[in-house]
Symmetry: C2
Subunit: 510 residues, 2 copies
């Protein structure tokens, strides 16, 4: 069956799932779910001596779903540590519901081969694990979800977490857990909050046990069954990079300047506006150009969102951004700021981007600047599969912010190496074209034709406005038309849109 | 049927409810419930022009349950305002699930008479409303719940809130609501948080609309359907008293000194201990005496709990109390502190005292000092009915903290006016004797005989240890034996213990 954006979704993978019908097509009432818990009486202890003991006490057994967060990114020790013990205990047929997976999780390949892990849902797939999955490692397709979509799925019971194994940089013995005050800090624990709220059993794993009460806590004691201490939760170097540097690449700077000019000339740039920018070279540089324009105009942003970096926290500290809502920190600047600045707020992935609560903060976003691996003439965006068809990215908050922001901008070079980024049809759709308002490249800015209002406003702006087809043609001229990727029929991953419908599938590469 | 503490509970009022079997008798797994919600898309507005419109949009109809919080105490305008409009709209047969009710809610009498309100659950009943209910106003008994018990009941679905009408001192147009930053501030909105999380529809009512985003918020936008502005949410003078004064009454000071000496001589008084004291003359004075002993010993409390008053926030600001967990502020000192001190934490009633989550903060309480209207030789405590059998108090956090703290102390004079407080059997049991460790009066300290450990520790302390029977006898000597209250058979209220079982009933007075 083809969905509304023309993507072929084989019936056999749908299994009762809805098919994508448009970014706000879902209108039914949401019946939320709730966990089944064992209450804790005064005097009971939660502190256990080993992960084995914790896994036993949770009652984990074959066929269950366990969850992990990715705040430790490529420095994460928790997932592999827990899976090794589970493997030794002989538990099989588990579903891993990770907020995301990275190259560091390569050992999962063996656990999949041995039948310990039979299902995965994640935002991202990278490295050898991603390669193996793209080559058909798993019988059941991975379900790729956005950050908001994962929160929605948990709240709706589509993901039912039996046991959440949540690494925390610091915790007290009663489970008040935080992303700071430890040896290896990650800042916000935004993705983990929702797991703690909805899992039947919650295990906090920390390498820094602090005095009771560890407050304010990211995850508080009322959600936690057990606390386990380990030698190290992760490699600090992999958890947060030291400093996010601004690009000096002239092409990236040109793209960023074009994007900033687009924002500045849009109706959304005014005192009190809100924005989210990512961590790529161009997107970070947009922040810098915006900063200058804000100072010139004496504008202050009401809030900034997203994966937080030092440039944003600096703008917050100089009073240019009043509030930061932080679901994840990308560098030590972000981590330091959330630990000390009272208006730098830690938020859950549901508050951040869940389409099915009473209004996530993305709903109030004026401008978002996003990157892309590929974007097509229908403005559909791929941020998950490479030019060889292999998974090497993450859904992240891409479709969440794009759908919600008043102005969703993709910044991208026309080509990367010998690969065009503006194409006729992307390999995989993460974000539908209806959510994207503009593509900004070094060769001009293409406005989505449905934004006739924006086209009218910008017509005398002097901005280098072009059509998306012109951008595609220019890219093709530089590198030639790309050979189509050869795929098998087998579906290795379902791409779930934030509302729970299937927007695309990823097939096995040949 | 008689329950385990010998209270007669008529079968016909039980209706499937459990009967009280002991403070930690409930051991089953807890299946939590969740609301049914309508999600909010970008661009939708929540700000409505009138309460009528809000009530219509919520779909409120006959037979539903509506909730209110009591943070505005005797200054509350919200409940009466909403009920007047509901009355005009002709909606009938409603259940009011208030966190507490006061004298200010006297207009409910008319709404009960006219069939608009047919059921009530609350922590407290005072004034003419209480008197009318005690005289048989309602067909269905009121359900009296403790603060922790109400949170439990909401999480378990025993109270299913259809619409929560939550007054907030400040809110933005998207429903980020706070207890400070307004015209009439109450500080913590701890009791309202749970309503917002579990109600199918949530209406924020404010008299101070602030710029988006109002952060940090007590209740955030993801829980809120509608926002309505009104001229005034309440009378600031009734919401928070200006300053809590220390008593100069010599008897109260003697009781307080005895209580402080008991704490200081107990094994729980040490560096890092935790405590809760109330607002009565004696309990506040205990705080002052404790403060002196803490300074002498160079002890700091890890945290203090409860209804927060200025003396506690002063100890926090001078470094004697590291953390304050605040479910409710009792004076402007508390309100000012929660607005500015980062380690003065706002917490929900579930975090505070719910017996059926994975460990409320009361579970970590070392010492609680509580008051009583009456206490009997079995240490059972009455804080709800007066010597005439009429309701004039509140369950509050009494049984929650008493059950959980390592040392639960009742401070009370032997007699009040011509009324003995230490009696053979209290009119109404809110807190079972097994939870109470000591009664402190001006005539001596009675330790619960089951605390043989404490009796042993204190035997050479020089404290004026007596038996509870001696206290009763002394009280009787002063005022004579009280005439028994004459009750009707009709049950006007069920007293639900924090675990959901029925510990006692209140009968119609003759």
């Amino acid at each position: 069956m083809k969905n509304v954006i023309g993507r072929e979704i084989p019936d056999e993978v749908l299994q009762g799932r809805r098919i994508f019908k448009g970014q706000f097509a879902h209108t039914e009432e949401i019946v939320k779910v709730a966990p089944k818990i064992k209450h804790v009486n005064p005097g009971e202890t939660k502190l256990l001596t080993s992960l084995e003991e914790a896994i036993q006490k949770t009652g984990l057994k074959d066929g269950m779903t366990i969850s992990f967060h990715h705040h430790f990114r490529e420095g994460d020790f928790i997932l592999n540590m827990v899976m090794n013990i589970i493997a030794k205990m002989g538990i099989k047929n588990l579903t891993i519901a990770a907020s995301s997976l990275g190259s560091v999780h390569k050992p999962l390949i063996e656990h999949i081969k041995s039948g310990i892990v039979t299902n995965i849902t994640t935002s991202g797939l990278r490295g050898e694990l991603a390669e193996a999955i793209s080559n058909g490692l798993m019988d059941n397709p991975v379900v790729v979800r956005s950050h908001g979509g994962r929160a929605r799925a948990i709240e709706a019971g589509d993901i039912k977490i039996d046991v959440a194994f949540l690494g925390a940089p610091a915790s007290d013995e009663y489970g008040n857990a935080s992303g700071t005050r430890g040896k290896a800090n990650c800042g916000s624990l935004g993705y983990a909050k929702i797991d703690a709220e909805y899992a039947d059993k919650v295990v906090i794993i920390t390498d820094t046990l602090v005095d009771f009460p560890n407050a304010p806590a990211s995850i508080d004691q009322t959600f936690v069954d057990y606390v386990v201490t380990v030698d190290a939760i992760g490699d600090p170097a992999g958890i947060a990079s030291g400093a996010t540097r601004f690009t000096k690449n002239p092409k990236e700077l040109l793209i960023a300047q074009n994007a900033a000019n687009l924002i500045i000339n849009s109706p959304y740039f005014k005192d009190g506006f809100s924005f989210q920018t990512g961590t790529g070279g161009s997107t970070l540089a947009v922040t810098r150009f915006l900063r200058n324009a804000m100072i010139e105009n004496n504008y202050k942003a009401s809030f900034a969102l997203g994966g937080i970096t030092k440039p944003m926290t600096e703008m917050h500290e100089e009073g240019l951004i009043k509030h930061i809502f932080d679901v994840q920190d990308f560098d030590l600047g972000g981590v330091a700021s959330i630990a000390k600045n009272p208006m730098h707020h830690e938020v859950s992935s549901s508050f951040y981007a869940n389409p099915h609560n009473r209004g996530a903060i993305v709903n109030k976003l004026d401008v978002v600047v996003l990157s892309a691996l590929e974007i097509d003439v229908d403005f559909n965006v791929n941020v998950i599969t490479g030019s060889d068809g292999v998974a090497r990215g993450a859904s992240g908050g891409h479709c969440d912010t794009a759908a919600s922001a008043k102005l969703a901008i993709i910044v991208t070079p026309l080509v990367r190496g010998r690969i065009p980024t503006i194409v006729d049809s992307v390999n995989t759709v993460i974000t539908p074209g209806e959510s994207i308002d503009a593509i900004v490249t070094e060769a001009g800015i293409a406005i989505n034709p449905k934004r006739t209002d924006l086209i009218e406003i910008l017509k005398d702006s002097g901005l280098p406005i072009v059509t998306v087809e012109e951008l595609r043609d220019k890219a093709e001229k530089i590198v030639g038309e790309a050979d189509p990727i050869e795929y098998d029929d087998k579906v290795v991953a379902l791409v779930e849109y934030r509302d729970g419908s299937i927007i695309d599938v990823i097939r096995k590469v040949k």
